[in-house]
Amino acid sequence: MAPKPTTSYRRFFDVNGWLFVSIALGLIGVFMAYPIVKSLWMSLHAGQGTVVEFVGTGNIVRLASDPVFLKALQNTCIFLVIQVPIMLLLALVMASCLNMPNLRFRGLLRTAVFLPCVTSLVAYSVVFKSMFSYDGLVNHALAWLGLIAEPIPWLNDPFWSKVVIIIAITWRWTGYNMIFYLAAMQNIDKSIYEAARIDGISAYRRFVSITIPNLKPVILFTTVTSTIGTLQLFDEPMNITTVGTVFSDNTLTLSMYIYNLSFKFVPNFGYAATVSYVIVLLVAALAAIQFYAARERN
């Protein structure tokens, strides 16, 4: 006779528990976990197509002297550092405006600013591409307003093409983040604001001292998800600033470079996997910093 099973022992062998989770675990194991480990292994190899050899840290050494990689890394970091703070601040201000108790047309305004979130990245990208083309709507409007004498080459210029990408991502995702802030604001106890108002504390101080601290977990959440999203940027630069099949170096991102290395040039999967792990490391490092910063101030 086996010894009498303990509760935790019985729980481990609970058939129902395993049955319910097994399909998902199997699929995620095969299509998520395995590729994660596999690409780490691949990053230690280099070669063309299926002919590969073990190079150890050779790929990492190659990164440091690869100008295209450094350009892609630089572009990605520029997008990250400029776009994420602008977007989150804008979302925060929008949410606190929409949260004002005596605001009229609230539903209408909220729906309007949230609408961009339902568009596909490719669809809005081609719309932006047309608006910002050399003889497009934006240049016409700016000229009509007398703001520019010459049309701006939005999509080809090293500076303006980045601006267009930043405008585009901000347009698409601000409303998305705003919804999280708005929901969190509505959960803050109204009586705290009431008490602060009676004490004669200004609206700005109430925002800084009551709203922001209460939103800290949500701000952390949106910062982490936006960081992950921006580090993976692909659809927008691919569809806004690419002409024909020629990627513009001005807006080349890490994801686009990985795509190039794997599916455009002679495939070097090992090196591409190494670049992809740069993104993984950046995500992990930035997320860790953000979690740490959020905990520190508590």
């Binding site: 729980r11 609970d14 528990g17 395993w18 049955l19 319910f20 989770v21 399909i23 998902a24 675990l25 699929l27 299509f31 998520m32 976990a33 590729p35 994660i36 596999k38 201000v93 405006c97 929409l98 305004l109 729906t111 309007a112 600013v113 949230f114 961009p116 339902v118 568009t119 596909s120 990245l121 490719v122 669809a123 809005y124 990208s125 081609v126 719309v127 932006f128 591409k129 047309s130 003889d135 497009g136 347009w171 919804i179 999280f180 929901a183 969190a184 609206a203 692909f234 659809d235 691919m238 569809n239 690419t242 024909g244 990985i258 794997s262 999967f269 996997a273 992809s276 993104i279 993984v280």
Partner: protein
């Protein structure tokens, strides 16, 4: 005095929100109007309805079988959505209701995969699909959709609101576990299912990078691939592109307006 300050404050709030709402909606208006104009008029910045809608549609349909492309995207989004819901809700239910130490560890590992960007998966995933001989099939697009740690997480969070008394009562009535899941849990949680379906449907419909990698045959292409190839032409026909963009946006727009509440609720499910 205070009254004036208050009025000024409200006016600036309305102005700010008004500008934001305008900026948000404007590209939609531009897209709809441009889809009725010829390419030359679109680039000229013409902001009135034209008469080239049918002509644009014929041009679009000539380069791509519009009905086929819609069918492909719809098939992937609906089949992907259905199986994701089935698999993920079972897992979410299983992790929450039959919680054990071993499964808790696996669940935490599962959450960790959420942090890994798709870029790090796509090459091994591509090779895996080649080994399974699934390249250039819709199944290759659907399978990674179904393997969604995020939706498992979403269902587990939502299952916390599922009253245990219902399960106990069903057990006393002699229902087996799978019967409880199917006939008690599923109907009770239908709004959770609706919200999750919208999220998966939209993500699958709008997916671009992965279909771009695995799909080659023109007759298998999805709407995002078609849109992208139209847009990347050396001499893009903007009237046709705008029409295609509008067609790509329409289903998600309809779903959004029909189920706005569930959509927002679904988005928020992850931070509750």
């Amino acid at each position: 005095m205070t009254n004036w300050a208050e009025k000024f404050r409200m006016a600036s709030v309305y102005l700010f929100l008004g500008v934001m709402a305008f900026v948000s909606i404007f590209p939609f208006a531009w897209m709809v109007i441009s889809s009725t104009n010829a390419s030359v008029d679109v680039t000229k910045g013409k902001f009135t309805f034209g008469s080239a809608l049918l002509e644009n549609f014929e041009k679009l349909n000539k380069s791509f079988d519009v009905a086929q492309v819609f069918w492909n995207s719809g098939k992937i989004a609906i089949i992907g959505g259905f199986f994701t819901l089935l698999v993920s809700s079972m897992a979410g239910y299983g992790f929450e209701v039959f919680s054990s130490k071993a499964r808790e560890r696996l669940y935490n590992g599962l959450l960790l995969t959420l942090m890994v960007p798709f870029a790090a998966l796509m090459i091994p995933l591509f090779i895996l699909m080649a080994q399974f001989d699934l390249l250039d099939t819709h199944l290759a697009v659907i399978l990674p959709v179904v393997a969604s740690a995020y939706i498992v997480f979403y269902f587990r969070q939502s299952t916390k609101a599922f009253p245990p008394e219902l399960r106990e009562a069903a057990r006393l009535d002699g229902l087996k576990e799978w019967q409880i899941f199917l006939f008690v849990y599923v109907p009770v949680m239908r709004s959770t299912y609706a919200a999750a379906f919208i999220i998966v449907f939209m993500a699958a419909w709008n997916n671009f990078l992965w279909p771009l990698i695995v799909l080659q045959s023109p007759e298998l292409k999805t709407i995002t691939l078609v849109l992208s190839s139209l847009g990347s032409a050396y001499f893009p026909d903007f009237g046709v592109i705008m029409l295609a963009a509008m067609l790509a946006t329409l289903p998600t727009l309809v779903v959004f307006f029909a189920m706005q509440r569930q959509f927002v609720q679904g988005m928020l499910g992850s931070v509750k």
